[in-house]
Symmetry: C2
Subunit: 146 residues, 2 copies
Amino acid sequence: MVEDGTWFPPADTLDRAELEEGETFAPRFNAEGLVPAVAVDADTGETLMLAWMNAEALRRTIDSGEAWYWSRSRNRLWHKGATSGQIQRIAEIRVDCDQDAILLRVRPQRPGACHVGYRSCFFRSLQKTGKGDLRLRFEETEKVAK
Amino acid sequence: MVEDGTWFPPADTLDRAELEEGETFAPRFNAEGLVPAVAVDADTGETLMLAWMNAEALRRTIDSGEAWYWSRSRNRLWHKGATSGQIQRIAEIRVDCDQDAILLRVRPQRPGACHVGYRSCFFRSLQKTGKGDLRLRFEETEKVAK
């Protein structure tokens, strides 16, 4: 936390070399104050979900060791698993080269990252039919949670 | 491709059940016409990068079997690897539950997804120092490309 009460240094004060190859964490939030966060299973590497964080969600994630997001549909902070039990314990937080995307390596405390009930939100793959149309195919067929 | 010349059916014509648990691919682009796409290594599962696609980039990715993105910094279509050789062959395309994020399982044709030279754009992890400050630590220390 920097002294003026904001949690992260403003990314626009860093030159490109420091932003991309330095040791300063200066996440770049978009115009809505959000940054996309990808959660992957720390043990299997499986991509579980993509959600959004504001600075407060990111700070809470860092401080608590559990994933917090910003729910764009409900317009409020969202402690993942607070009601479902699907808490995501943080194994590692990474940031990408230009610091506008976050990667969370997590250990889900209960299976089912997806509100639909599947292990991953990415439970459908894109297929072409014989006629060349696009259809989704379920790659997960059994729900692991309600 | 639907008959009126647009490539994907408008997501807002689907009810929630069809959007989230149906077989219709109706990607939800944001107000800027973009959707985030996470690229992971199809063989190792490693998360390589997060980039953005517009409808044209997504269509070209589907048609060509190689990853196309929309470069927000250059404001144009971006055939990943066209100059660097780091072409990403598509093994599988997935979409998330509410169809506002894309997952690409890719086979990089040359190592180094990141323009900085690392295998993954997520080459730095977040660490707390003894004083409680946040610093980035390099998890990849050798560049695999220029």
